[in-house]
């Protein structure tokens, strides 16, 4: 055999190796690989879960991505066979684990979450309309509750704040860290038309959740809020508040629309990153962006929302740096942030169980995965243990607040060091970037 022939054979072998492709496309939940999900598939999954001899590949039958085939998987497949859902959590199959994660984050996480956010924002808008129509204690309470609910949903979505919310600069306009009451009062004192369109021309400190908080929560009590909305002299205050409510509702609808298949379809672009989608040039960049966003959210919570008010870097407590101080909802927002990130990690999305980051971590380092799941639980428990309002806690319940800070710090460290490096993620954010 000549050297040329040998080289040819080597090249041919290498070509075969590099052109090897994965198995044919699989449908998550299609246990018998028939091409469709039927009751037979559900029975097969249940038999496998019960150890009754069913042979079912986890890439088709572990439909919640839990790592094992359980009765829950069987029930989910039966529901799908009846047209009551679409299993998305299989950790293998034709998409590969990372694209499966993107799919579940989009379809089970982001899109249902933005739908929920948009719906809550409409409720908030309606509550504010009711309030300004006839200001009173009962309507104020309803508006305050709607504000808390909508803001918490928003805070949960910050874990995957990427794509449209950043491109359209929506995030800053929905939730800037603090309102500027002086500037808002100056607008009210002016003569500009107070419409949502006009608010779009204003700075972020005059719109969004924090602006609404300025109107409907008052350190002097709810009576002061109601008084501030009554009478012809407060007509422009009422109009401004209403316009902010409409503005938030419109911005959240835009965000939902941008992700929806019937709208901008960013979700599909995101899933198809690197294979035709426009969201990111490669799958790796899309995946890395999600992990970076999770870490960045935790960093903001640790440093800005907990650390700076606590004065952990020296100088003592700084109540003036607390986010949402008037509503006393600071810690609820922080908790929603952490839970949002935890959902992406665990795959516990608004739209149901799917593949989370944790599945990818566990495949490479079970020890890291176990540790991180524990740290999420610890951080959530530690924040829950701090009594609201946070402004009081940083002085009178400082020990609990510091324990919460340290728990969040430890979680952020694990995400930054252990999760990112286990997944080979390139960290791209700067430590002092603003949100």
């Amino acid at each position: 055999m000549t050297m040329t022939t040998k080289l040819f054979l080597v090249a041919a072998a290498l070509a075969l190796l590099t052109t090897a492709v994965p198995a044919a496309a699989q449908v998550c939940g299609d246990a018998d690989d028939s091409g469709a999900i039927t009751v037979t598939d559900g029975v097969l999954v249940l038999r496998t879960a019960a150890g009754l001899g069913g042979e079912c590949d986890a890439t088709r039958c572990d439909v919640d991505g839990s790592g094992s085939i359980t009765v829950t998987d069987g029930v989910n497949v039966l529901r799908a066979a009846a047209g009551l859902g679409n299993p998305t959590g299989c950790s293998g199959g034709s998409l590969g684990p990372r694209r499966t994660f993107l799919r579940d984050l989009s379809n089970a996480g982001a899109i249902p979450s933005y739908r929920a956010l948009a719906a809550e924002a409409v409720d908030l808008q309606v509550a504010l309309e009711d309030l300004v129509t006839a200001p009173g204690a009962e309507r104020l309470a309803i508006a305050q509750q709607a504000w808390r609910t909508t803001r918490r949903v928003w805070k949960e979505t910050e874990a995957f704040r990427l794509g449209p919310s950043e491109v359209q600069r929506t995030s800053a306009r929905i939730d800037w860290p603090n309102a500027n009451p002086d500037q808002i009062d100056a607008e009210i004192a002016g003569s500009s038309a107070q419409s949502s369109a006009y608010l779009d021309t204003l700075g972020a400190q005059k719109v969004g959740f924090q602006a609404i908080e300025y109107f409907i929560f008052d350190p002097a009590g709810d009576a002061a809020v109601v008084t501030g909305l009554l009478g012809t002299e407060n007509a422009r205050r009422r109009a401004y508040l209403l316009a902010v409510g409409v503005n938030i509702s419109e911005r959240t609808q835009e965000l939902r629309e941008a992700w929806e298949p019937s709208g901008g379809n960013f979700g599909a672009d995101f899933i198809d990153s690197g294979i035709g989608g426009n969201a990111f040039p490669t799958l790796k960049e899309a995946f890395d962006e999600v992990v970076n966003r999770m870490i960045f959210t935790m960093e903001i919570v640790e440093e800005r929302r907990l650390g700076e008010p606590l004065g952990v870097k020296g100088g003592g407590p700084r109540p003036d740096l607390i986010e949402s101080p008037r509503s006393g909802d600071t810690l609820a927002g922080i908790l929603a942030n952490i839970e949002g990130v935890a959902d992406v990690y665990r795959g516990t999305y608004t739209g149901g169980q799917g593949t989370g980051i944790g599945v990818q971590v566990a495949a490479i380092s079970p020890a890291v995965d176990t540790a991180v799941r524990g740290l999420f639980d610890a951080a959530i428990a530690a924040v829950q243990a701090v009594p609201e309002p946070f402004a009081d806690a940083i002085v009178n319940h400082r020990d609990e607040a510091l324990v919460a800070y340290e728990a969040v710090q430890e979680l952020r460290r694990a995400l930054t060091l252990d999760v990112a490096s286990t997944l080979g993620v390139k960290l791209t954010f700067g430590g002092t970037d603003g949100d």
Partner: protein
């Protein structure tokens, strides 16, 4: 190297690495090497580009090579953050090329001064380059002889799983067995390729493997010009007349060589210097084994040892300062001053942690805190393990040259 210089301009690395940073991590003894002010570093790299071009065409080869070696090494002595094995290799090779008869044939120099042209070079000059490359491969393989690499397939398990998007082979890379296959194949390649390149019967096949191996690494890992550098350099193992034989095969005409032998100024002295160089090159990577039993964790003796792509390590650091006189304490996040790259590199390397601690102490002293103490809270994750505290948090680093590393739980 011309391409490397172009990449510096194209990717904005001159600004990112030499202009933008407000603090640099100099090598011990080279604190005086600083970036040029203003547009000086752009000029510096522009000149390096011109010199690289001159080397390519063989114009004033020895002078161009000497200036290039000096200029390239200067740039990389500015900041330890930017250390890369292949840039070190470029500096070493450029220095060797100053001594070796590089422009003797097929060059502008040979064309302009035929009297100095040559057809042959002394065999030892070729063997110096072969030995240098051989050391890179062999020590690259030695760095892989550890439990993480061979038993746990780390860090390739991490890196390959992250490349599931690579066309054609991406799906394969997500399997655990692929990490083991690549780990063992990589170690075997590094340790075994030199003998196969030296043996005439296997040389062509070995070089084909070299090309495939480096092409794969260029696709899978962000290692810049390294794969291309090695693909371009490894033909040094072929018989020295291979370019003439290749040209003859391509053109169908004979490309006979002459008998003029290149002269090397002070040849005996040059041989002695290069022999000493190879001894030093052999010993330097070994120092790590005398310094520590956990090289990947402590990184003692890690640089200049050809430990190419050997670990996945990430760190986070904050510094606590205390003025004993006033009792005042404060915390410094290095990211407020360092670039993202500097902060991440510093957080995993004990000498750089100490460098930055001393810098913070100097700053504090200038602000009136005469006897300031500096301590570091550093956590590091290595090869997919949960992070651990890296340096002794009680050690005062205000005057330390190296942060004391805590033992790693195995």
């Amino acid at each position: 190297m011309l391409i490397a210089v172009v990449r510096y301009f194209a990717y904005g690395w001159i600004d990112a690495l030499f202009v933008h940073p407000r603090f640099f991590f100099p090598y011990a003894g080279f604190e005086w090497v600083r970036p040029w002010p203003g547009i000086g570093m752009y000029v510096h790299f522009g000149v390096l580009g011109v010199l690289a071009l001159a080397i390519v065409v063989g114009c004033c080869t020895r002078t161009s090579t000497a200036l290039f070696a000096l200029g390239f090494t200067w740039a990389h002595l500015i900041d330890k953050t930017n250390y890369l094995n292949h840039y070190y290799l470029v500096s070493v090779l450029a220095a060797l090329m100053v001594v070796l008869p590089m422009g003797a044939a097929g060059s502008v120099d040979a064309w302009r001064r035929p009297a100095r042209a040559a057809d042959l070079v002394p065999a030892w000059t070729v063997w110096v380059l072969r030995a240098q490359l051989g050391l890179v491969y062999v020590y690259g393989g030695v760095a892989k002889l550890n439990a993480d690499w061979l038993v746990h397939a780390q860090p390739l398990r991490i890196w390959l799983a992250a490349r599931g998007d690579v066309p054609l082979i991406g799906a394969l890379l997500e399997h655990g067995w692929a990490a083991y296959a690549f780990s063992w194949a990589g170690a075997a390649f590094d340790l075994g390729i030199v003998p196969f390149l030296l043996w005439r019967r296997t040389r062509v096949l070995a070089y084909a493997v070299v090309v495939v191996f480096h092409l794969l690494t260029s696709v899978l890992f962000p290692i810049g010009i390294f794969p291309w550098l090695m693909i371009a350099l490894t033909p040094i193992f072929f018989d020295p007349d291979w370019p003439r034989r290749a040209l003859a095969r391509l053109t169908g005409e004979a490309w006979p060589g002459g008998t003029r032998i290149a002269t090397i100024p002070c040849e005996r002295a040059a041989m002695a210097v290069l022999a000493l160089h190879l001894v030093v090159q052999t010993l330097i990577p070994l120092r790590a084994f005398a310094l520590t039993d956990d090289i990947a964790w402590t990184e003692e003796g890690f640089r200049f040892a050809w430990r190419v792509m050997a670990i996945e390590k990430a760190g986070m650091a904050t510094f606590r300062l205390r003025d004993p006189a006033s009792g005042e304490t404060w915390t410094v996040d290095p990211r407020s001053e360092l670039t993202t790259l500097q902060a991440s590199m510093m957080a995993t390397q004990p000498d750089m942690i100490a460098d930055y601690a001393r810098h913070l102490a100097d700053d504090a002293r200038r602000q009136g805190h005469a006897d300031v103490e500096v301590r570091a809270d550093v956590w590091v994750s290595l090869n997919g393990r949960p992070n651990r505290r890296f340096v002794d948090p009680d050690a005062d680093l205000a005057r330390a040259t190296r942060a004391p590393v805590l033992a790693r739980e195995k």
